[in-house]
Amino acid sequence: MTKRTKSLNLSRRQFVLASGGAAAALASPAFIRDLKAADEFKIAAFIALTGPASLFGPTQKACAELAVEQINAAGGINGREVKLIIADGGVAPGEAAKTAVRLMLRDKVDFFAGSHDSAVRQALVATFKGKTPYVYTPIYEGGECAPNTYVVADTPAQQIGTAIPWLYKKHGLKDCYLVGNDYVWPRVLNEHTKKAVAAAGGSIVGEEYVPLGAPNKFEEIVTRIKAKNPSFVMVTVIGAYNVVFNQTFASFGLDENITRLSALLEENTLLGIGKDNAKGLYGCMSYFESVASPDSEAFKKAYLAKMGDKAPQLSLIGTDIYAGINFAAEVTKKAGSTDAAAVAKAAVDLPFKSAVGTWVMRSNRHVDKTMYMGDASSGKLEVVETFKDVASGETCK
C-alpha cells in the first residue's frame, strides 16, 4: 500500500482542477474525496514474500512502491491515483490463483503485475482468462502468448544470443559444458546455447542436469568438468545451487582457465558466491546495479532516497517489477482504459520507463531491450559490454 504525503494531496487536486477533468471534480471537496477513493487505479503486484525466492521480496516491494509513488507524483493514471496492492507470488500456484480471484472480485484490481516463477504465472493466466491485463516481469524461458498478457522479462534469445558470441570472441572459447537444474527454463536456455555455440564454431562436450531438491553439492560434477577441461561452462543452475556450484568450481581450481556464464547471476547470488570464487564468471541481463546511465543513476538515487541506509540490494528481480508497473501505467494512459482491445492496440511500440532507461513493448507483447554483459570477477557485477535493442525472439501474435 502506498503512503501519500500532504503535498501530494494538494498537487493532485490542483492537477485535477487544472486539467479540467470530470465536471464533478469542480464540486465540493467531499465529493472529490469520494471520487478519489472510488476512482483509484488498482495495481496488484505478485512478488516473492515467502518461498525459496523470498530473499527478493523486500527489493521487489520497494521497487513496486517506488514506481507507484513516481506515477502518482506525475499525476496518476488518467487522473486517477494509483493504489498498489502487494500479493504473495511465492506460494503454490493454486494459492496464488485464489489470491488473484480475491483481488479480481473483491478489490476490483485494474492491472496485474507479477515477478514470480512460471508455474504461478500459468495459474494466474488461467485465472485471469484475459479479462484483466497482466504484465509478467522477471527472467523466463519464453513462450507466453496468452491474450492480454504482456511480458517484460528477459528471454533466452536476449541472454544467450548476445552473451555467447561475445564471450566466444573475447576469450577464444572452444568447447562448452552445460550444467543446469532439471526443469524447463535451463533446458530451453541450453537449446539456445547449443545453437549459439555451434554458430561460434564451438562444440558441446557435456550436458548435465541436477534435479530440484537433490542435495546441494557439486564435487562429482566439477571433477567431471575438470577431466573434460572445456574452455567454457554454461551455468543454468539457480538459487542456492548457483552459489554452491560456483564455490565448488573455484575451490577445485577450475576458475583459473575456464570461463563461466551464469544465466541467473544477479547481485544477491554473487554475494553468496563471493569474490574469491568469481574469477572468469559472467552474467548477462537487462539490469545490473552498476549500469551507468542517466536513467539508472536517477533510479538509484530515488530508490536510496526512499529506502535509506537499509535499502535492500538492487537486482534484476526487483527492478523488473518497477518496469512492469511503469508499462501498466503507460499503456493504460495511452489506451484510455484497461479494455483488452484498447490496451493491445496501445501496447504496440509503446515506450515506457525501466530502471535503466526506456524499453519498448512490441507487437509480440514482449520487449526488445538493451542487454548488459556483467563481469563478476571483482565481486561486483561490472558492465563490460552493452548490447542495444536486442530482439526478444518471441513469435506471439
Binding site: 494459492e95 508455474a119 488461467a126
Partner: protein, 594 residues
C-alpha cells in the same frame, strides 16, 4: 443418536449456506480448502484410527489430480468427464492398499519407519512428476485442463466441493462407527494383542491406508478441473506435511476433526497472507504478516500440539459423547455366528519337541519337549526364570526358536503368525491384563468376538456391533460389571481388567487357551470366581487349558496334569500327586511351602 445427528445436519446446512451468506469470494476460497480437507480426512483415518502416520498423502492426491487432468484433456470432457471419477478414485485407493500390505506384512509396530517410507515415496513422486515432462508438463505443470460439466462458475464449484466434502465426512463417519473402526482403534492401542484375536494387522492397516487413498483420489479428481492446473508440488512433501498438520490441529480422532483443521488453518493462512488492505495503523502489522504468516501458523499449531493433543474437535469430544449417549437406542442383540476355525475338531494335540531358544549366551529354552492331547487343564509350573512365559512366547513366535518343532494336530506351526494361531483355535491371555484401554467393555468383547468369526469385509457391517453369544451372557451373570457396556476399559480396576481379558479370551471360543497367571493380583474372592469360570468354560466349551501358575493351592485344585519346568526344559510331569512326590521336583522346590 438423534441429538448428534442434529449437529451433523446443522453443519451440512452451514456448508451449503456459505455462498448465500458469505458471498462468492468466500465460496471460491473454500472450494479449494474443501478438497484439501477431503485429503486430510484420509490422514485422520490412518493416524487417528489405525495409529500410524502417513507422511505421503500428497502423493495420492497428486496422482489422482494428474490422472483426472490427463483424462479430461485426452479422454473425455464435459459430462462424460464425470465418469472418470471411478478410475481416479479407485486407482490411488488400490495402490495405497497394495503398498500398505507390502510394507506392513510381517512386521508389527512399524511406526516411524512407515512414516519415513511414505515420505521417501512422496519425494520420489515429486521427482517423477517434475521429470516426466511429456506426460505431466514437468515443473510448470499440466495446464489448460478443461472444466467438468456443471463446474463453470464459482458457486457451482463451491457446491460440488461442499457436497463432496459432506460425502467424504459421511464416509469417514461410517467407517469410524463401523466394526472396522473399533478394530482400528484397538489396533492402535495394542497391536500385539489384537493379532491374537485372529486379525491380520497388516491387512487392517493396509485397509486404512487404502481408504485414505480413496479419499485422496476423490479430492484429486475434483482438484484438476477446479484449478485447471496441476503442478508437481501437489505430490510433494510440503503438501503432505500440511495435511498432517491440519489433521493434528483439527483433531485426528474424529470424523469431522481433520476437515475442521483443514478449513480453519487454510482460512487462517489465507487471511493472514492476504489480509493487507485494511489501512490505518495496522499497515505495519499486515506487512509483517504477509512475510511471516507461516511463522504465526507454525506457532499456532505447536501450541495446539502441545496443549490440545486431540485437536480442536477434542474440545467438543465430551459434549459429543454425552449427546451420543442421550439419544442412544436400546441394545438389541443378535446371535453371533459360530467361530470359524481351521483344522480338526476335538481336543487339540499340541506337541513341542526339542525347542531351543537362546538370546546371546542365555539359554531361555533348552530342549523343551511336552505334549497335550486331552480336553483337560494342564498347569505349567516352575521357579522364576524356568521359561514358562517364554514357552508361550515361543509358541506365538515372539521368540525365535533356534532348534525344535511345534506341531498342532500333527501340523507344524513353528513360526506361525499370531493371527494364524488364532485361526487354528489357540487363544492367549497375557500376564499383565492387556485389554484395550480406550475402548468400552462392549467394544473390547466385540473385538474378541469378531476376530475368529468375521471376514475383514464383514467388518463394514454395523450389525456386527450387536453380536452376542450365550457364553458371554453367562459370563455377564457371573461377573455383573461386564454388563456395563459403556464403561471405558481403562477405568476398570486391576481385578476387573483381568476378568475382562479372560472373558475376551473365552469369547473367542478357542480350542486351546493359554493362560498366563490369570489370578495375578486378584483378591481371594475374585480368584475364586475366576477359577470357577475357567472350570465352567472347560466344561462348556470342551476347552483345553494350559495354565501358568505359581500358587500351588490353585494348581492342586484345578490341574488335571502338571508340567514342571526348570532351566528351560521339562523336569517332570504327571498329575499333581505324582509331581509333588517326585524327588527331582522336591530338590528344585526346596523351601517352597506345600
Amino acid at each position: 443418536m438423534v441429538y448428534s445427528r442434529a449437529i451433523d445436519i446443522l453443519l451440512i446446512v452451514a456448508v451449503l449456506a456459505v455462498p448465500t451468506v458469505l458471498g462468492d469470494l468466500w465460496a471460491y476460497n473454500l472450494s479449494l480448502v474443501y478438497l484439501y480437507a477431503i485429503a486430510t480426512l484420509g490422514v485422520g483415518l490412518c493416524w487417528g484410527q489405525a495409529g500410524f502416520l502417513p507422511l505421503g498423502q500428497g502423493m495420492f492426491l497428486g496422482l489422482a489430480a494428474y490422472m483426472s487432468g490427463l483424462g479430461l484433456i485426452h479422454v473425455a470432457g464435459g459430462v462424460w468427464g464425470w465418469l472418470l471419477v471411478v478410475p481416479v478414485v479407485i486407482v490411488p485407493g488400490v495402490l495405497a492398499f497394495v503398498i500398505g500390505l507390502l510394507i506392513f506384512r510381517g512386521r508389527t509396530e512399524s511406526g516411524p519407519f512407515f512414516a519415513l517410507i511414505t515420505l521417501a515415496m512422496t519425494l520420489l513422486a515429486f521427482q517423477i512428476a517434475t521429470a516426466w515432462n511429456s506426460v505431466t508438463g514437468g515443473f510448470n505443470g499440466l495446464r489448460n485442463i478443461p472444466d467438468l460439466a456443471g463446474m463453470s462458475d464459482f458457486t457451482d464449484r463451491y457446491y460440488i466441493a461442499g457436497v463432496a466434502l459432506i460425502l467424504a465426512v459421511a464416509f469417514c463417519m461410517w467407517l469410524i462407527e463401523a466394526p472396522i473402526g473399533v478394530v482400528w482403534r484397538a489396533l492402535s492401542q495394542n497391536e500385539r494383542r489384537i493379532a491374537f484375536f485372529g486379525y491380520s494387522t497388516a491387512t487392517l492397516k493396509a485397509a486404512a491406508f487404502g481408504a485414505a487413498g480413496l479419499l485422496a483420489g476423490f479430492a484429486g479428481f475434483l482438484y484438476a478441473p477446479q484449478q485447471n492446473l496441476v503442478t508437481p508440488t501437489l505430490a510433494g512433501f510440503v503438501v503432505s506435511a500440511n495435511l498432517v498438520i491440519w489433521a493434528a490441529v483439527g483433531g485426528r480422532g474424529s470424523a469431522i476433526g481433520p476437515a475442521l483443521g483443514a478449513v480453519l488453518v487454510g482460512v487462517l493462512s489465507t487471511e493472514l497472507r492476504d489480509g493487507g488492505g485494511f489501512g490505518g495503523g495496522l499497515d505495519a502489522l499486515w506487512d509483517f504478516l504477509a512475510r511471516f504468516w507461516e511463522a504465526v501458523v507454525a506457532g499456532f499449531f505447536i501450541i495446539v500440539v502441545l496443549f490440545l493433543p486431540n485437536g480442536i474437535a477434542g474440545l467438543f469430544a465430551k459434549l459429543n459423547a454425552s449427546l451420543k449417549r442421550l439419544g442412544r437406542l436400546p441394545f438389541r442383540p443378535i446371535l453371533a455366528p459360530p467361530v470359524r476355525t481351521e483344522g480338526a475338531a476335538g481336543p487339540p494335540a499340541l506337541a513341542l519337541s526339542g525347542c531351543r531358544v537362546a538370546a546371546g549366551e542365555v539359554r531361555i529354552l533348552n530342549g523343551l519337549t511336552l505334549r497335550l492331547d486331552r480336553a483337560a487343564i494342564y498347569c505349567l509350573i516352575g521357579p522364576n526364570g524356568a521359561g514358562k512365559t517364554s514357552t508361550f512366547n515361543t509358541l506365538s513366535t515372539e521368540l525365535r526358536m533356534q532348534e525344535g518343532e511345534i506341531r498342532l494336530d500333527g501340523e507344524v506351526i513353528s513360526g506361525a503368525a499370531a493371527d494364524t494361531l488364532a485361526a487354528k483355535g489357540i487363544g492367549r491371555k497375557f500376564q499383565i491384563p492387556s485389554v484395550f484401554p480406550n475402548l468400552t467393555i462392549a467394544d473390547n468383547l466385540h473385538v474378541a468376538l469378531w476376530g475368529t468369526r468375521a471376514r475383514l469385509v464383514s467388518l463394514l457391517r454395523p450389525s456386527l456391533r450387536r453380536w452376542d453369544t450365550p457364553l458371554l451372557a453367562t459370563l455377564r451373570e457371573r461377573f455383573p460389571f461386564l454388563a456395563q457396556r459403556d464403561r471405558i476399559a481403562g477405568d476398570l480396576s486391576h481385578g476387573e481388567r483381568q476378568v475382562l481379558e479372560l472373558a475376551m479370551a473365552l469369547a473367542a471360543e478357542p480350542r486351546l487357551l493359554l493362560l498366563d497367571e490369570p489370578c495375578a493380583g486378584l483378591s481371594h474372592e475374585d480368584t475364586r470366581q475366576v477359577i470357577d469360570a475357567i472350570l465352567w468354560a472347560r466344561e462348556e466349551l470342551g476347552l483345553t487349558v494350559l495354565l501358568i501358575e505359581h500358587d500351588m493351592s490353585l494348581v492342586r485344585e484345578i490341574a488335571d496334569h502338571v508340567f514342571v519346568m526348570h532351566q528351560g526344559a521339562l523336569l517332570a510331569e504327571g498329575d499333581v500327586a505324582a509331581v509333588q512326590a517326585d524327588d527331582k521336583v522336591r530338590e528344585v522346590y526346596v523351601g517352597m511351602a506345600s
